[in-house]
Subunit: 226 residues, 2 copies
Amino acid sequence: MAWKSSEKIKWGILGCAAIAEKSLIPAFKKAQGTELVAIASRSAAKAQDWAEKFNLPKSYGSYEDLLADKEIEAVYIPLPNHLHFEWTVRALRAGKRVLCEKPLALTASEVMEMFHQAEANKRLLMEAFMYRFHPRLAKAIELLESGAIGEPRLVQSAFTFVFNREQDNYRRSPQMGGGALYDVGCYTVNAARLVFKAEPQEIWATGHLDDKAGIDLTTSVLCNFP
Amino acid sequence: MAWKSSEKIKWGILGCAAIAEKSLIPAFKKAQGTELVAIASRSAAKAQDWAEKFNLPKSYGSYEDLLADKEIEAVYIPLPNHLHFEWTVRALRAGKRVLCEKPLALTASEVMEMFHQAEANKRLLMEAFMYRFHPRLAKAIELLESGAIGEPRLVQSAFTFVFNREQDNYRRSPQMGGGALYDVGCYTVNAARLVFKAEPQEIWATGHLDDKAGIDLTTSVLCNFP
């Protein structure tokens, strides 16, 4: 069905994630054309708490139940990385449009399958690289395309932060898709692809592993674009 | 012979290079313990011009003649990159100490041979990475070693400038050791080695070649340090 500017897309959220609380729910509330209808959690009580806190009409004690709600047209998935594949596919099959947090999945073949499911179910799937919609970036790309700095030859991008390495953070878990590259390194690769409008032809990478946790604390990548 | 603080080392310069005129000759003039005695050029007239201009006692119309001057104890070699090997070896064999511009040579085996000659002739050989003696860098290294920023994990270094690509510049000549990596990329590799006090274990590199000249205009390198 086509979207009219007078209509509001009805959204649901899978999981009570910090990123949803800090960033997405406030943004959904401010956005035009959007109505946040429901939130789901593995804990019905927590989902209900969040629904009250953010004034959402519905809450669900399981992700399945939210996906079964026919009123909901699109879902936002802020679950830990290793759950993106499963719940994106289930949401698409339930007829939902999906906005899934980065990184979309843990392997290229999972990503291929996710987009295959999106096509098969005729539903939009999008990876949540919010930075691409920032006015500052739009201006930078506009300047690049106007030739203001000439032909881009080199993109150097870094994303770093102080990581206090608390034991219960999903970023420390290889099973949950933790580590620097999945967490924020994907932004830097994405930024280079945005500027060159192409896929890298060759990729070299080297990193420092956290011996205990088995995840990368630092990864450095060199990509060759056409 | 040992150097006493009251003595002045007598220097000669091989070649009338821009870097000598702009940077090294003024620095030699200001330095204590140093006396700039002679300059050599393939053109006797040019050497004489420079000797007058910079108030140097002697000038020579060939590099050999300067090396044959027994009074000269050390030479500075600002010749184009492809001449570093030959004239460093000849200077060492003539009993001179050598300060040679970066990059020391065009291949690792040439560099090995140059240091072999330095040892065999019991003379000091040094590559002119002037930045290492800058007070700012000394302070940065002091801070690093004091643990002020913790353990260094990543060194990101870049050296760029606008290159107007004039045809007669040695930087455009593969035969003369032109190109980005030899010209200024060597600084960035040197800086990483300085911080990690080690040699890289693995190196990946990719670059953009100037199709006409056959030199690299941009080279990006990823190194893995122990």
